[in-house]
Amino acid sequence: ERASDGQVNIIYWQAPSILNPFLTGGTKDIEAASLVLEPLARYDETGALVPWLAAEVPTLANGGFSEDKTQLTWKIQEGIVWSDGTPFTSADVKFTYEYCTDPQGGCAQLAKFENVASVETPDDLTVVVTFDSPVSNPYQPFVGAQSPILQQAQFADCTGANAPSCTDQNFYPIGTGPFTVAEFKPNDVITFEANENFRDPAKPAFATVNFKGGGDATAAGRAVMETGEFDYAWNLQLAPDVIASMEQGGMGTPVAGFGTGVERVMLNWTNPDPALGPDERAVIGPHPFLQEPAVFKAMSMAIDRPLLSEVGYGDAGKPTCSWVAGPEIYAIEVEGCFEQDIAGANALLDEAGFVDSDGDGIREANGVPMSLVFQTSTNAVRQDFQALLKQWWSEIGIETELRNIDASVFFGGDPGSPDTFQKFYADIEMYQNTFDGTDPQSYFGNGLCDKIPSPATQWQGENVSRFCMEEYDALHAQLTQIDDPEERVRISQELNRLAFENGMMIPLVHRGRISAASNTLGGVVLNVWDSELWNVADWYRID
């Protein structure tokens, strides 16, 4: 029954600062907003697409997706109303498209609407999305937590340049979701109330949501599992032994799910030598020695992936040698990849002529010592990884200097900061990222030559390692043309292999996400393909 279970307390150790997902890139903001704003369809915990506000997912099979792959027709469920009681119509969907694509607006999710030529509304419940060219994956706009639907009535005056200054709208969006915003304190706490007008009269079970932000993962985990103050803690990036000991608290349990995230070491294909000056660093290639196959192969061989996985993620991690390790079908198996082979690595390097010529324990490549600056974000597990990798590489005569940067700076993408992962002012760096849904095509696009970040693109661009290979580009182009699932898998695996064997990066661990839920909280289904709070309407209290 609606609103019968009192309050649910959710803690995110990063605090949301805005509730309009079109104006922010932060997961915390998007997931907080997902309690209120909903898309037409979203991914479920298996990565499968499920209709949400739409009546069904349009496909080629049911005719919702045109044969020429340029038109997608959504049918909206009947009887959906906004939380203010007004009906939800296709006009709102069209408005959302216009809102985000307004050139003055600075929409953060513009990529979702990249190929969209137009959005038409033949009637109140029908939305037709037309693409400017055939697309193999049309489920980008209005799908997933990153592109939900805004209410036209509320945001009509907030388009274009007005978007950022509409504080009220951005803080208190009206949505169709199970909850409405009662109070928003930026960077601190949000109070939600059950939506009176939610389409399922029995949901949500909770009357209010207390969404707290800020702090650190340890405290969040402790608050759920040890003290029981909170019911749900998001994304606990903690060492497995720490999580295990928290579980001893008996108030809650960790929930894990495997998504697409692979913790990997990116190798810099350009020369990050500080002497080159800011505009030339990370632009001019090649790296003095990192592109030597012997070098990156030896580095990979020196790694004990199962150990890393165990130390860093426990049950929530699996060693991997794939760049895209999930969904599993796309992953590749590499012979001997999980075995550490220091001797072999040393032999490989010796053979390739990288020897320690001056006896300081560090090999030289063309006269320069093989010394690497290794950066990553500040996070206990990553620092442990760094230490382990440093040690292993030192055993094969490669010296590493560690550096860690605050996550908000490292992932902040600030073109002015020298410390972003995109700028890559280091030899190697470690992080993971994920993609939405289960189709890896656009993610594989991150290895294309034209996605290289550079000053010209304000340092934006996803090909962070500056890996550039004609063969790879060609193969990826092929992938975009092919529909046959099996063929897609084959090409994907091939792309994976190319990336691994040519030293784009060194995959380490396919890591799952761990969150924690209170033992008294029912209905939690961890979804790594969409917002973790995707089914919050189904949550209830176990007595």
Binding site: P103, Q104, A111, N210, K212, P415, S417
Partner: protein, 345 residues
């Protein structure tokens, strides 16, 4: 006295301008771009527009001037409007409408007026950090007095020992330690501060007390350590003074001699030390706030910093500077009030 205050206030204006200018220029030096949060896909032209909307791209001096106007002209107008419209104290005044929708100081991070957020954060900071200061002082004073009165006694030695330990243990250790003991082990207090909690009756007040007690104690430990040292030194200075002997010769009891005659004199330097410590309250206690999730001013500053939210950082820093200058003045005035020998003209 009044002219003294007025003159000092007048003098503090150039000081504040100087400070704000220096801080502004310093922040300009910092690399960073508020467009950081804007995703990669936004075209350059759009970004340029957004940048202009935020007042970037102009020479620093112009930006500084704009900021000054916003802080000293537009924000006060908003404040007056608010006071005359909805505050309990001044709402009898006719509603003013000074604020005509000019651009206020906008946070780049949340796209909302900085002042609104600051006002929102104030209560937490005041409740916790402020109360911690008060508690710390209240504990420190008796310790200082008694340590001095029984100099080199066991109490004195133990006091020194404990306060120095309190001083040397960082809050990021004491905080979690208390949490492990009292929240996890005993389950007495919550480990996470609820900033939405409102005190309406006795029970909610008790809840408020429970959630404040640990952060307050962690912070108070530091204050206690310092203030009790000052108090002890001041008491020692005064206990040997001639007037103490006079007071005793009058046949006054020890309690009166120490707690009235000596204490009153010893408070003079200590009160100024206390007053000078007040601005730090508003600066927040970043680490303690972080540990207990008291999202106060400290947390605001650090998130703003990491998110490159210059208007927020600048405004907070400036508020801090204002408080420092103000409390410097208050300390001086208090000195004069407490010590009749000081004359201001």
């Amino acid at each position: 006295m009044l002219t003294f205050i007025a003159r000092r206030l007048l003098l503090s204006i150039p000081t504040l301008l100087f400070i704000s200018f220096a801080v502004f220029m310093l922040l300009q030096l910092a690399p960073g771009d508020p467009m950081a949060q804007v995703p990669l896909t936004v075209p350059d032209a759009v970004k340029e527009k957004m940048r202009e909307a935020l007042g970037l791209g102009e020479p620093p001096l112009v930006q500084y001037w704009k900021w000054l106007v916003q802080v000293f002209w537009i924000e006060p107008k908003v404040l007056i409007d608010y006071l005359t419209a909805s505050s309990t104290l001044f709402s009898w005044l006719p509603d003013t409408a000074l604020y005509q929708g000019e651009l206020r100081v906008i946070s780049w991070q949340t796209r909302s007026p900085v002042m609104d957020i600051v006002v929102q954060r104030m209560p937490q900071t005041l409740w916790v950090v402020g109360l911690a200061y008060v508690v710390g002082v209240l504990i420190a004073l008796p310790i200082g007095v008694y340590s001095a009165y029984r100099q080199y006694s066991v109490f004195d030695q133990a006091g020194t020992f404990v306060t120095m330990i309190g001083f040397s243990i960082p809050p990021f250790f004491t905080g979690p330690l208390l949490i492990v003991i009292f929240s996890v082990g005993l389950g007495w207090f919550p480990s996470i501060y609820d900033t939405t909690h409102e005190v309406t009756d006795w029970d909610s007040f008790v809840v408020q007390l429970q959630q404040m007690i640990m952060p307050v104690m962690v912070l108070a430990l530091q204050t206690t350590a310092q203030i009790s040292r000052y108090m002890r030194a001041a008491m020692l200075d005064n206990l040997g003074a001639d007037y103490v002997r006079t007071a005793r010769a009058k046949g006054l009891s020890e309690a009166v001699v120490v707690n009235i005659h000596v204490l009153r004199n010893s408070m003079i330097p200590v009160v100024t030390v206390i007053a000078l410590g007040v601005p730090a309250i508003f600066g927040g206690a970043i680490i303690t706030e972080n540990v207990f999730k008291v999202n106060g001013i400290g947390q605001l500053l650090i998130t703003a910093l990491f998110a490159n939210d210059l208007p927020m950082v600048m405004t907070l820093t400036f508020i801090f500077a204002v408080l420092i200058v103000l409390f410097n003045l208050i300390a001086d005035v208090l000195y004069g009030v407490l010590d009749p020998r000081i004359r201001y003209d």
